[in-house]
Structure formats: C-alpha cells, structure tokens
Symmetry: none
Subunit: 68 residues, 2 copies
DNA sequence: AGTGAGTTGGGTAATTAGGGAA
DNA sequence: CCTGTCCTAATTACCCAACTCA
C-alpha cells in the first residue's frame, strides 16, 4: 500500500450496469434521472455508477457490510 | 469494450423463461411469486431470472457443478 | 487529428406487473 | 391445483442524430 487515493470508488459505465441488470443502457439512465441510482458525471456529461451500489441493488453481499 | 466488472449472473427476462418452458410469461411470474423460482428485480419492479437456475430446472446440466 | 465505440437526448412500440374472473 | 386470458398502468426496448470517450 503506497499512495491510496482518499476514497477510490470503482465506477461502472452505463452499458456495464445494463448488462448486470439485463436491461437497456437507456433504462439505467432513467434510473439515474429518477434518483433511484446515484450517478457521477464525467466532465463531458456521461454518467458513471458506483459498483458497490449497483451490486448492493443486485443483492450481491458487499464485502464491507457482510455482517448484515 | 464491455469489461465484466464482477462475477455476474446471466439474467433472463420473463418472456425468455416462458419461451424455454413453453408457458405464458404470467405463469413464470406465478412461479416466482410462489417461491419456486428465485427472481431479481430491476429498479422498476420487473423481474429477471437466473439463467443457471432456469437451465437447472429444465434439466440442462450445469457447467459449474459438472463434477457432481 | 481521426477513428470507432459508447453515451445522451427525445419519441414511439413492446413487455411486464397487478388484480381478478373463467 | 394449475394455467391462459382480459384489463389498466407502469416500466422497458428500439428508433434516430449529435456528442463524448479512449
């Protein structure tokens, strides 16, 4: 462990999230627009999603909260 | 490039499962509601089904349990 | 600087959920 | 007991052109 960025979060692209949920990328965009999924924007306006949040919604137990 | 982020289950839509079983999609929904088939929900409430589980129920030998 | 893939936006069909009755 | 169908409302999928990303 050397220089660990403060809070590095693994981000997923719209198509990656869409693949996980078996939906269209556009649907993921609607979820973000509806506030059901938090999104981070690139400087060009493209959306990125937190992997931890997506996996959580998919029902995949998180490593940090595996005591739940 | 659709990089696979994490181990993801391949999911099937209700109509796809219905086609495989030669039943109405509504029937698949009843199976899920009765707990006979596990389902994952999209953020909009639509159900998705695990391909591995469906194939298992169809009698297709699973690749992961091929040592059985 | 240019190319190809991915994303965004808006608009319109197609699926799905839910309950209920045959 | 199980399934297929009818109904309405909600969600999702595919169409386009323009922009961003790597």
């Amino acid at each position: 462990m050397t220089t660990q960025p403060a809070q590095s979060e693994v981000l997923l692209t719209p198509s990656e999230v869409a693949t996980l949920f078996r939906v269209d990328p556009k649907t993921v965009t609607r979820w973000a627009k509806a506030g059901k999924l938090s999104s981070i924007r690139t400087l060009g306006g493209h959306r990125r999603y937190r992997e931890s949040e997506v996996l959580e919604l998919l029902g995949v137990p998180n490593q940090r909260d595996r005591q739940a």
